[in-house]
């Protein structure tokens, strides 16, 4: 009889473990705030260890399929007031830029997705992966469990445009927090992102407050610190306008 239960347990064990896809689904199932406002300290560290700090204020808002984001530079003083607005409706994205020295708002056209996020080692794509990985775009596989972490490999499905050929994610078990992502390109490790401080806001939102992205090729590093966060506080639509950009 005892032997029977051992067999049952052995057979059932794989069913109890999550598949890679399920892990990513769980990551995506975490609640996301409708609005987000906070300050971002961005530290750029080059391979000689020289540091350069930028400070930004960021507002985002989600309403159905519309996503809006406004970023304003607070420091250094010579770029203070520079503002960047992105509004994504369905598949289309509209981007505008305000340079205070020219006192003009310019619409920007062209592919920005692969580009750098505010001159950092993060790309726009990397930043958007933080919110939602869009697991349907990936073929995923649970590589192993490392103590409290699931290690999942995600490969873009054929036809899905991606700057990387492979991602390896470390997902912490209780909250399904992504704590580390390795980005592979052309068979080699290209960048590593570590989210080493994650805090709970409003009792349900798990928000990384310290993110480090290291480019293995250029040995350049960016540290992002998020602070003074306000989540789900109403943000009026007037924030995402040219007038507010210039203010």
């Amino acid at each position: 009889m005892r032997r029977f239960w051992v067999w049952v347990l052995l057979l059932a064990a794989p069913a109890l473990a999550l598949s890679g896809e399920e892990v990513l689904k769980q990551v995506e199932a975490r609640p996301r705030p409708k609005t987000f406002h906070g300050k971002l300290a961005m530290e750029l560290i080059n391979k000689q260890g020289k540091r350069l700090t930028r400070e930004l204020e960021i507002w985002t808002k989600r309403e159905g399929s519309v996503e809006k984001m406004l970023i304003k530079f607070l420091a250094p003083p010579d770029v203070r007031g520079t503002a960047f607005l992105a509004i994504r409706k369905g598949g289309r994205e509209e981007m505008k830029l305000y340079l205070p020295a020219l006192k003009k708002v310019r619409r920007i056209a062209g592919g920005q997705k692969k580009g750098s996020f505010m001159g950092s080692d993060f790309s726009y794509d990397d930043i958007s992966k933080l919110g939602s990985l869009k697991s349907e775009n990936y073929q995923s596989k649970l590589l192993r469990e490392e103590g409290a972490f699931y290690v999942v490999e995600a490969t873009p499905k054929p036809g899905v445009e991606s700057a990387y050929e492979r991602l390896v994610l470390w997902v912490e078990k209780p909250h399904f927090d992504v704590v580390k992502i390795e980005f592979y390109r052309k068979g080699a490790l290209y960048k590593v992102m570590t989210l080493d401080e994650i805090q709970t806001y409003a009792g349900k939102y798990r928000i990384p407050t310290r993110l480090v992205m290291e480019n293995k090729k250029t040995r350049h590093k960016t540290v992002l610190l998020q602070r003074e966060l306000e989540l789900d506080h109403p943000i009026p639509d007037s924030v995402f306008t040219e007038r507010f950009m210039k203010r």
Binding site: N46, G110, G115
Partner: protein, 748 residues
């Protein structure tokens, strides 16, 4: 030495086994020997210009670019698609830090009020896209004439490279990557192509030169000895010397470059003379009816001093090159000196050991028996004695004329001059010079507040004035990038009026794409920037004056607004190398002559004799430089070695002195001593000169002009030293060394 030789004769096997064991141990380093002819192998790491070069490389990724020209129909969908495939492929090659071509260029312009920032080439290129792309490129100062030729026949791919890589491998990998994707001809210019070609040529030439040198030596040895063992024994000793010195180089991690590739021939030519002397004497004693063991001992005793002095002198002359600040020359000097000393050891130990094991030859020709050569020498002696003062006056006149001519010697470090006209890298470099205005780069480092519009304006003015010079193809920097952004934003070329404006436009550029694209031009904190000046590949003299003109221009235009302006890049480093070569030349020459005089004086126990002994060498060196000045042969990294090597190989004249002193000691009058000395040693000098000179002739088959020139100059030097040793030297001995009472060094 003699007791060691005696031991070798009595117990040949331990000596032979010891040589075999050491040859195996040291020789196994041969597999570790690598080749490197990167500019780094020529530049001393402690040089200030190199530190800046290194700093620039660390900060901006690369201080050196190479340009590839792809020939074909660039302005066609297929052409652009192939260019894109080729660009992507070379970006994957190890050692490539960055690639710029039309395929990854960005388009930033205003279209219907929108600021468009995107890749210049769309994903799928349709024939209808071409006119628009071409119009944009033609109006873009960063791209037009730089990335594509005005007629659209050539596309340029600008490669930023890690120059510490194995250039031969890099060159092949680049070529392979281009050829896989581009159907038309591919021209690779710049350092990797030149260095890669140099390495390929060395590796191809090296075995040929060694075989040739061995064959020539073998022939001369045969003419001298008329026996197989007379040919094989000297060759065996130099083979041992060669294995030891090359193996040691491998163990020490040395790398062979163009200069050090002559090492084997130097060791072969110089080293074989030692055994030649010992064998000459051995056969002479055998022919005189002595037993084998006695003949060996007598041979070593009689020739020992001369061989020791000439080995020490050769070693000293070559080791003096270690004082050079150029790494490749340093290592060459060290290994060549080591090889020569090993050849000496092998001649005094291995040769007696092997001889004692071999049966006496059936035929016993006496190489020292009077023949045509020795009879000619005999006639020479009274002539020299009668006209000794005239000979010395002629020598003095020769010295003065040659020294005067030597002042006209030019220095040349341009790699391009090394190649035959049809060598692929030379063809490529000349093509890139013609089509894109320059294949060489000068890098200007500007430190200061790069957000200051006045500094940017100054940089732009520098670039404009530089481009007006006929030798300059293009000059680009962050100033051009900002002008482009400014035009896209405002519709007109220019600079923002404030620091904030510059900072914001820079930020915009960063936001628009790859941040790395910017760090090639400017540091993140905008405290330093690079101006890349593309210039034609020029001879060293012209490059020097161009660099000075540009430095002057930078001082006038940029310096008032910047904290510092400095020039670097491979070209600038090579100019520094030139300065060092000139400086080292005097140091190593003086050092080598002093060392030789010192050893001769020490071993022959007379300062006066030491001074007289370097006369043939001094005259030969003056002759070399005079000849170079007269014929317009430049002093380059190869010919810079001739003086030191001439000293190394030329001291066989010491045999004449040794014999002359010996005769004086035996109570001969100076005239008789000179006659006997020329009669006995003259023939050996003649054949040694023939063997050494012949060995160097193998270098005539080198693929490099400077090495060929080096070989010719060595031919001259060896001949001249022999001539001086047989004329000026006895004349000088007759005038200044008429008595020799002191105890002469007794055969060491």
């Amino acid at each position: 030495m003699e007791s060691l030789s005696r031991f070798a004769t009595r117990r040949p096997w331990p000596v032979i086994l010891l040589f075999v064991a050491l040859t195996l141990v040291l020789g196994s380093g041969l597999g570790r020997l690598t080749f490197d002819n990167s500019p780094e192998s020529l530049v001393p790491p402690e040089l200030p210009a190199y530190r800046l070069f290194d700093e620039v490389r660390e900060t901006f990724g690369s201080a050196d670019v190479a340009i590839a020209a792809l020939e074909g129909e660039v302005w066609s969908p297929e052409g652009l698609a192939s260019l894109r495939a080729a660009t992507e492929a070379v970006a994957e090659v190890e050692g490539v830090l960055g690639v710029t071509s039309l395929a990854n260029a960005q388009r930033m312009e205003e279209v219907d009020g929108d600021l468009v920032i995107e890749d210049l080439l769309p994903e799928r290129i349709a024939p209808s896209d071409i006119p628009q792309i071409r119009a944009y490129v033609d109006g873009h100062p960063l791209y037009a004439h730089r990335l594509v030729s005005p007629d659209g026949r050539y596309a340029a791919v600008i490669l930023e490279l890690d120059t510490s890589q194995d250039m031969r491998r890099l060159n092949q990998a680049l070529y392979q990557a281009f050829k896989t994707h581009w159907q038309g001809p591919v021209y690779l210019s710049g350092t990797p192509a030149l260095s890669g070609y140099i390495l390929e040529t060395i590796q191809r030439d090296l075995p040929i030169q060694m075989t040739l040198a061995a064959l020539i030596l073998g022939l001369i040895l045969y003419l001298n000895f008329r026996s197989t063992r007379g040919v094989l024994l000297p060759l065996l000793t130099v083979a041992v010397a060669l294995l030891w010195s090359l193996g040691l180089g491998g163990w020490l991690g040395f790398k062979l470059g163009m200069i050090s590739s002559i090492l084997p021939v130097v060791v072969l030519a110089v080293g074989s003379s030692f055994t030649l002397h010992v064998l000459n004497r051995f056969y002479h004693e055998l022919a005189a009816g002595k037993g084998r063991a006695e003949a060996i001992l007598l041979a070593v005793r009689e020739t020992g001093l001369g061989v020791l002095v000439s080995a020490l002198a050769a070693g000293a002359g070559l080791a003096a090159l270690y004082s050079s600040s150029i790494p490749q020359i340093k290592f060459f000097g060290l290994l060549a000196a080591f090889g020569v000393l090993v050849a000496f050891l092998a001649a005094s130990l291995l040769t007696p050991a092997v001889l004692s094991l071999l049966k006496n030859p059936r035929r016993l020709p006496d190489p020292e028996r009077p023949d045509r050569v020795s009879r000619a020498m005999q006639k020479l002696a009274p002539l020299v004695a009668a006209h000794r003062h005239r000979v010395l006056s002629l020598a003095a006149a020769f010295l003065l004329v040659m020294l005067f001519l030597a002042t006209r010697v030019q220095v040349e470090t341009s790699f391009l001059a090394y190649f035959p006209k049809d060598a692929p890298p030379r063809v490529a470099t000349e093509l890139v010079d013609r089509v894109f205005g320059g294949s060489d780069t000068l890098t200007v480092v500007v430190e200061g507040n790069l957000k200051d519009p006045a500094l940017l304006q100054a940089i732009y003015r520098f670039e404009q004035e530089a481009k007006a010079l006929p030798e300059v193809g293009s000059a680009i920097s962050i100033a051009d990038v900002i002008r482009e952004i400014h035009r896209a934003l405002t519709g007109s070329y220019g600079f923002p009026s404030s620091e904030e404006g510059v900072a914001q436009e820079l930020l915009l550029y960063q936001l628009s794409g790859d941040p790395e694209a910017l760090t090639r031009f400017i540091t993140e904190d905008a405290s330093a920037a690079l101006i890349t000046v593309q210039v034609r590949s020029l001879p060293t003299g012209q490059m020097k004056s161009l660099t000075e003109d540009l430095k002057e221009l930078a001082k006038r235009t940029i310096a008032p607004f910047a904290d510092a302006v400095e020039f670097t890049g491979t070209t600038v480093l090579m100019l520094e190398v030139m300065r060092l070569i000139l400086h080292d030349q005097y140091v190593s020459l003086a050092l080598a002559l002093v060392l030789v005089a010192f050893f001769n004086a020490l071993l022959l126990r007379s300062l006066r004799v030491g001074a007289v002994s370097v006369l043939p060498l001094g005259l030969t060196i003056a002759g070399q430089f005079g000849l170079m000045g007269m014929l317009g042969i430049p002093l380059d990294t190869a010919t810079a070695l001739i003086a030191a090597i001439a000293i190394g190989v030329g001291d066989y004249s010491v045999h004449v002195i040794v014999r002359y002193l010996e005769e004086l000691k035996n109570g001969e009058d100076p005239g008789g001593a000179a006659r006997t000395s020329l009669y006995v040693s003259g023939r050996a000098v003649f054949f040694t000169a023939l063997a050494i000179g012949g060995g160097f002739m193998a270098l005539l088959f080198s693929g490099f002009a400077p090495i060929q020139t080096f070989a010719k100059l060595m031919g001259f030097s060896v001949g001249a030293t022999a001539l001086f040793a047989l004329t000026v030297l006895p004349a000088a001995l007759l005038v200044w060394v008429r008595r020799y009472r002191k105890e002469a060094g007794n055969h060491a």
